[in-house]
């Protein structure tokens, strides 16, 4: 497979003369698992797990939707005719999925919960698990961590991330005629658009000047790192231009479009980790809106996993799903009872789905109580341990890192991984 990397661009006759790759890609990580690609699907706003993943019917302590529990493999899923998409997804892919219930987020603030569940730490200076995965395994790619949604944390690994932006600003950068004009819509102005030859002249000049600066004062430490990042950013920006369909990621941020771009990015070797997102889950009023949100989420998820299972992987005879882990999560859950506006407010216990390569699928790990409290869990087996240690966001993040072949002790030294994720 052709990968969009610095090495390819140099060998391809590009004028982008760079230094040798700084780091070789490891063949097997310290966690014991092979390197695996990662897709993060974020349901931002806080989903209500009782709609699908954590059924709680017939309890006076919890207001939930109507439906019935169906088992797919060993996963009890709350189903209803009004929510066909989750049913269709689990009918097709339950054996690949592990559902994790009773994840303690230790916060009920969106921004705080998001950074916790995505980074495994309470610090927004920490990179999230997508950034860590991409940095560890594939920092030589053009856009190692492709962020098509809104919420991601890159911390010190920012140089390897490529963000689409809240309103798909990247589309405007790749094609200035498609973005917001400078000036006004009535009298727009656009940047000077060099042709191919002029573009090459510009690049040759910038590259030579950067090399000169590097020779003079970029041989050491901080300056060296910054100049390398600048050089890398040139060819990385070029590589993004080759992903023509990025412009289709319009302001609506359709999950299907994001899923398609994620597949394209991974398949072409543009990126190694992708973040995609469906927002709107913050149902303080009319919690029943979670029905439609689940429909959209599981329709997108089924498309994504169907395609991963159908498209060839990098290794002979393999499929993409054999080399990829998909994580579906939301930063928080919702209160057990409805409020006066028929909505539900923030709750510090959530659920997640982890599926794909190396995942011990077809089962549920962790649990919540009849009051939606997080029940203790055995991190080795995933069995519930009432009264034991709760499953915290850091355990989940560390477990995912281990699953994708990253030694979690390097990035999350204080969190024991949820070992039960892996086969």
């Amino acid at each position: 497979m052709h990968k969009l990397s610095r090495r390819n661009l140099i060998l391809g006759g590009s004028a982008l003369l760079g230094t040798a790759l700084a780091d070789a890609r490891p063949t097997r990580a310290a966690s014991g698992a092979p390197p695996r690609k990662l897709i993060l699907m974020v349901a931002s706003g806080g989903w209500d797990p009782t709609y699908v993943l954590d059924p709680k019917p017939g309890l006076s302590t919890i207001d939930g939707p109507s439906g019935e529990i169906r088992r797919f493999d060993d996963i009890p899923v709350f189903t209803d005719a009004s929510r066909p998409a989750p049913t269709a997804f689990f009918e097709a892919h339950a054996s690949r999925c592990q559902v994790i219930n009773g994840v303690q987020t230790q916060s009920i603030v969106h921004a705080d919960c998001l950074k916790r569940v995505l980074t495994g730490t309470p610090s927004d200076a920490s990179p999230d698990i997508g950034a860590i995965t991409a940095f560890t395994h594939a920092r030589e790619l053009a856009a190692p961590y492709l962020v098509l949604g809104q919420t991601s944390y890159t911390g010190p690994l920012a140089s390897i991330a490529a963000r689409a932006g809240t309103a798909n600003q990247i589309g405007g950068l790749l094609n200035p005629y498609a973005g917001l004009p400078a000036g006004s819509f009535e009298q727009p102005t656009y940047p000077f658009m060099p042709d191919v030859t002029e573009e090459s002249l510009i690049r040759e000049y910038v590259t030579a000047r950067t090399a000169r600066e590097t020779a003079i004062r970029g041989q050491l430490g901080h300056n060296k790192r910054r100049l390398e990042d600048f050089s890398d950013s040139l060819w990385r920006g070029d590589a993004l231009k080759n992903v023509g369909t990025l412009g289709e990621l319009d302001f609506t941020r359709d999950l299907m479009v994001q899923a398609r771009l994620a597949l394209e990015g991974l398949e072409t070797g543009l990126c190694y980790a992708v973040q995609i997102e469906l927002g709107g889950w913050d149902t303080h009023a009319n919690n029943a809106a979670q029905t439609n949100l689940n429909e959209r989420l599981y329709a997108g998820l089924k498309y994504l996993v169907d395609e991963l299972a159908a498209r060839p992987g990098e290794n002979a005879g393999s499929k993409m799903i054999d080399e990829t882990v998909v994580v579906v999560l939301s930063e928080m859950g919702r209160t057990p009872k409805l409020n006066a506006a028929a909505g539900k407010d923030h709750w510090p216990v959530t659920s997640a789905i982890v599926l794909g390569s190396g995942v011990a699928g077809g089962r549920v790990v962790g649990a919540s109580s009849d009051e939606l409290g997080a029940v203790g869990v055995d991190l080795e087996t995933g069995s519930s341990l009432p009264g034991g240690t709760q499953l915290a966001y850091g355990n989940l993040a560390a477990g995912i890192l281990s699953l994708v072949g990253v030694d979690p002790a390097t990035f999350l030294p204080n969190s024991e991984p949820l070992h039960a994720l892996a086969t």
């Binding site: 944390y153 600003q169 990247i170 400078a182 060099p194 002249l201 901080h222 600048f230 950013s233």
Partner: protein
């Protein structure tokens, strides 16, 4: 109340804060961290302590604190050639233009302001009302602030102080806008009223005059003083000459040259 101590008005509250060593140490770290683009926990404690003392000695004068930082040896490290053996070059050095600085720099140099007038969208029911005319390097929702390394304080809460694919694309696009504006406008103005191209006209193509103009651009854009015949200008002259040979259009050759010069590493970092 300040940590359990009752106060009588803002003046007394301010005095309590000034007397609190935690506040002054935190202020010293934050100022140093901001100017050097470091997280507060990356600021060496001995430096924070010396800046804290300066704060005390100057009566909590924030301007004196800022002045001490930007005039300090650490701030010069980005332009030091040889290692001083004190580990300083590993900790500090080049500073990346923040998105707002990027916009200010280009506006000062070329007059170009990357703003878009959205008032015509006020009737669109799918968009918030009153979007105004945001500066796209300051705006983090419609604009490029986050993609250029800034924050939106919701989804992105820490700035990025290095270059990525998207921050590179922002700088390139901004350079293209500014180059177009300067060339289109300068040749319509008397030389004294121009932004950058004071020494050439739209029909000037002799090497001597072009090199004089390039020397002036190196001084204005990069702070590099070179005689026009200096070899340090050869690559820029070669760029102009090749661009002109390609297009046979002097205006276009200048747009190509300025696009390159405005996305140079000496613009990207300081």
């Amino acid at each position: 109340m300040y940590f359990g101590t009752s106060t009588d008005g803002l003046v007394e509250l301010g005095r309590l804060m000034a007397d609190d060593p935690r506040f002054s140490l935190c202020a010293a770290k934050r100022f140093y961290g901001y100017f050097h683009q470091l997280a507060t926990d990356e600021v060496p404690l001995h430096i924070a302590a010396s800046l804290q003392k300066l704060l005390y000695d100057t009566g909590m004068d924030a301007k004196a604190l800022a002045r001490a930082i930007v005039l300090g040896e650490d701030f010069r490290v980005s332009h030091v050639v040889t290692d001083q053996g004190d580990g300083r070059m590993d900790r500090v050095g080049y500073k990346k233009l923040r998105p707002i600085q990027m916009g200010q720099l280009i506006r000062e140099l070329t007059g170009f302001e990357w703003a878009t007038d959205l008032t015509s969208l006020d009737d669109d029911p799918n968009l918030p009302y009153g979007l105004g005319a945001p500066n796209l390097l300051e705006d983090s929702f419609f604009g490029y602030n986050v993609l250029a390394g800034g924050i939106d304080a919701i989804f992105v809460t820490r700035p990025s102080h290095t270059y990525s694919a998207t921050s590179s694309l922002v700088l390139r696009t901004l350079a293209g806008h500014a180059a177009r504006k300067v060339v289109d406008e300068d040749f319509d103005q008397p030389a004294a009223q121009r932004w950058l191209l004071h020494l050439v006209e739209v029909n000037t193509d002799d090497e001597g005059t072009i090199r004089e103009q390039l020397a002036a651009l190196h001084l204005r854009l990069y702070g590099e003083r070179h005689p026009s015949e200096d070899a340090a200008l050869d690559s820029t002259w070669a760029l102009w000459r090749a661009a002109f040979a390609h297009s046979s259009d002097i205006s276009r050759a200048w747009k190509t040259t300025l696009s390159a010069m405005l996305q140079d590493v000496r613009i990207a970092y300081y």
